[in-house]
Assembly symmetry: C2
Homo-oligomer: 457 residues x 2
Amino acid sequence: MAQKPSIPKGTRDFSPIEVAKRQYIMSVIKKHFERSGFQPIETPSFENSETLMGKYGEEGDRLIFKILNSGDFLAKTNEEFLQTKNSLKITSQISEKALRYDLTVPFARFVVQHQNELEFPFKRYQIQPVWRADRPQKGRFREFYQCDADVVGSTSLWQEIELVQLYDAVFSDLKIEGVTIKINNRKILSGIAEVIGASDKLIDFTVALDKLDKIGEDGVKTEMVAKGISEEALVKIQPLFNFNGSLTEKLNQLRELLASSVEGTKGVDELTFICETVEELGLKSATLNLDVTLARGLNYYTGAIFEVTAPETVKLGSIGGGGRYDDLTGIFGLKNMSGVGISFGLDRIYLVIEELNVFPETVSNVTDVLFLNFGDNEAKYCLKVIRDLREAGVNAELYPDKAKMAKQFQFAEKKGIKYAVIVGETEMQQNIFGLKNLNSGEQQNVTLQELQQILMK
Amino acid sequence: MAQKPSIPKGTRDFSPIEVAKRQYIMSVIKKHFERSGFQPIETPSFENSETLMGKYGEEGDRLIFKILNSGDFLAKTNEEFLQTKNSLKITSQISEKALRYDLTVPFARFVVQHQNELEFPFKRYQIQPVWRADRPQKGRFREFYQCDADVVGSTSLWQEIELVQLYDAVFSDLKIEGVTIKINNRKILSGIAEVIGASDKLIDFTVALDKLDKIGEDGVKTEMVAKGISEEALVKIQPLFNFNGSLTEKLNQLRELLASSVEGTKGVDELTFICETVEELGLKSATLNLDVTLARGLNYYTGAIFEVTAPETVKLGSIGGGGRYDDLTGIFGLKNMSGVGISFGLDRIYLVIEELNVFPETVSNVTDVLFLNFGDNEAKYCLKVIRDLREAGVNAELYPDKAKMAKQFQFAEKKGIKYAVIVGETEMQQNIFGLKNLNSGEQQNVTLQELQQILMK
C-alpha cells in the first residue's frame, strides 16, 4: 500500500532553514508591531460560511475553501439540486464552515463580537495563514501567511502617519533599503472622476489609470475613451500623465486640478498633512511617493491607499499594502467604525531578502555542537556535560548511536554543525575534551571550562 | 444584513493576553527543542486525503475535516450514490483534501517525500494547529495546537533518555514543578500477556489493566475474566496489583515475572537502562515513574511509552505523551525507520500554569507608555520622542485623537498601560515631559533623558 507521498498543489513543506528564515521575518514584523502599540489576536482557521461569503465579491466566494459537513451530510439536501447536480446550490447545504480567506473580515467579525471587551481605538495585529483556491503559480500559493496591523475606532490621520513610519521601521530593520511607499487617496480618485464628469465611471476610470505603467499614456487614453470618457475629460486630466516633481509640487498640481471638487480637495488636504508630517519626521530608508494611479481594492478603501514596492534592483513588485476603510464592521452590524491598516507580504519579502542576500548569518537553527558517541559509558559522561551546556544556552546534541567516527563526522558536516566533541576513554581519564572545529578542521584538547567558554560564545 | 457574528463551535478567538501567554509557553518549548538539537519543519494545513485517510482507524477517518473540491464538484459524481444519498461514498468524489488531524502522519509523509534531502537520524519539531471534528467539550477543541518533537532513523535508547530530560527541562522552566513522567514499554505488556498465555488477548488485557485507577483491582479482574483470561493467569499477574516500591524494586519484580518471555525481558532491559541512566543523570523537578498500566495508543507504539501528568495539586491529568514506533514511515513505503517522540499538550499546560499562577509577570504585550494627544503640534512633537523610544525598545503609542484628557487617561488605564506622558504647550516650551505612573498615580516632570531612562527600564 506504499503510495508515493505528495502535497496538494499550491501548498508547501518548509525545511528547518526555511522555517528559521520565515520566523526571523515574522519576529521583526511582530517586534515593530508591538513597539507601535499593536496587540496580537488570533482567530480560528475556519469561520461560519455566512461570515465569509459575500464579502469578497463573486470571484472571492469561488476562491474560498469550503469544509464539508461531518457525518451524513447528504441526508438533508434538496433532491432536485442533487439530481440536477447543482453544485452551487448544494454547497450551502453540505458545508457550513470555510477556511479564512484573509485576516480583515475575521478581524471585523472579532471586533463586533467582542466590542464590549475592547478599548477603542483598538490596535491589533494578526499573523496567521489564509487559504485561497486560486490557480497556483510562481509566488502565488493556496496557503500563505498574512501579517496585518489595523487600528479601528478612530479617523485620526496620525495613524496613517504612524503606519508609514511602521513600514519604514520594519523594512529598514530587515535591511531592505530603498523601498517605495506609494500613497494615494480614494477621495482624490473620486475627485478626479467628478471634475471630468465621470463620477459614474469611477471604476472604469481607475482601472484604466492603474494600467499607465503597463500600457502607457496612449493605451490608457484609448481605454478610457472606449469606456465612454470624453476627449474633453482627457484634456483636463492631462497633468496626471506628466505627474512629476517633488511631493509638494505634485500635491499643488492636484490641488489645482481638484479645486472644484469638495471631496477631491479633502483628499488633497489629507494627503498633504500626511506627506508633510512624514517628511518633517523623516524616514530611515524608505521613500514616500504620491502615486495617483494607485487604486488597489478601490471598492474597499475610502481614504488613504498604500502600496509598498521592493527596491528597484529586485523586480518583485508589491511587498505590502493597505489603506483606510470607513465601514469595516458595518457588515456585521456595528456602524461608524473607521479602520486603517497595512499588510506585509511574507512570501515576497522572503524572496526580496534572499535576492538582496541580507538574511543575518545568525538566522539558523542548526545545533552548535555534536558530541560523538563512543559507547554507553562515554555517552553518559557526555550527557552530563551536554545538560550543563544546554542550560547555558548552547544547542547541543549527542549522536545517538555508537557508529563509525567517519560517519558521525559526516553527519555533523552535512547538517552544518560547527563543532564536534570527541570523548573516548583517554579523554575521560584525562578530564579533557577533543574539540574539532568542523569549519576550519582545527582540533584541540580543552578542559571542561574551556569547552564551555568556546561554545557559549 | 447585520448578522450576529459568531464562530464555529469548538473553535476559539484569542485575545491579546491569551496570545501572549500561549506564545510564552510555545517559546519555552521551542527553546528547549532547539537546545536538544531538534529543528523545526512546517507542513501544509491540508494534505491530500489519501495521505490521511486510513491512518487513524475508522473513528479517526470520521473525525477528519474534509475540504470540498472547488468549482463544479458534483459534475463527475456517481449518479447512484447521489440518488441514494450515500454520503460515505460521495465523500471521496467531492473532496480530495483534508485538514491535518495530527502532526505525526504529515511528519511521516514529509520524511518519505524528502528522504534524500535529510540527514538521519533526523530530529524535527513541529508546533502547528490540528483539526478534529470531535464533539467539543471542556478542554477539547476542534482546532488546537500540537507541539511535537520526534527523532527518526535510530533505535538508540539514548533518545528515550534525552526525551525524559527534555520533558523535565521544559516543565521546570515553565515552573510546573512536580510533574510525573510515567514510562512503560509495549514489550512489557506483550511479555505479560505472553506469560499468562493471553497473547491473543493483548488489547483486551491492556484495556482492562489501564482501568486499574478507576475501577480498582476487583473491577479489573472481573473484566479480564469476562474477556476470557483465566483465573490462573490472574494469580500470576497478582504482583501488578501490588506494584510498589522504588523504580529498581519494580523493575526487579517485573524481571522475575517476565523471566520466561524473551520479549518481556527485552522490555525490562530497555526500561532498566533508561530509568537507571535518568536516575544517575538526575532530573530537575520531575519524577520518572514506571507505570505498567500505561498503554496509550498501544497499536502504535512498539517500545517505550510516555505520559506526563500534571502536579497532583491540579487535577488536570495528562499534559503530554509519546513513545517509540518502529515503523513510522512504512505506510508511505519507507521501511525500517524507527522513530521516537513526545508531544506537549498546549491547552492543558496553559490551564495548569493558570491554576498554579506561575505565568511570569513579564508575559504581556501591553504598551509601556501612552502619549496623550493635545493637538497636532503636540502630537508631532511627541511622535519624534516616540520614534526614539521605539528604537530603544520601548513599546510606545500616541493617542490618535485630541480627546478629553479624562478619556485618554481612562483608555490607558483600561488597557493596563503603566505610564502616560503629558505634553502640552507649557511642557513643549520648557522642554519637559509630564510623566504619570498610572499604577501609583504619581506624576512628575522629567527631562527627555530622564523619560528615556525611566521607560527603558
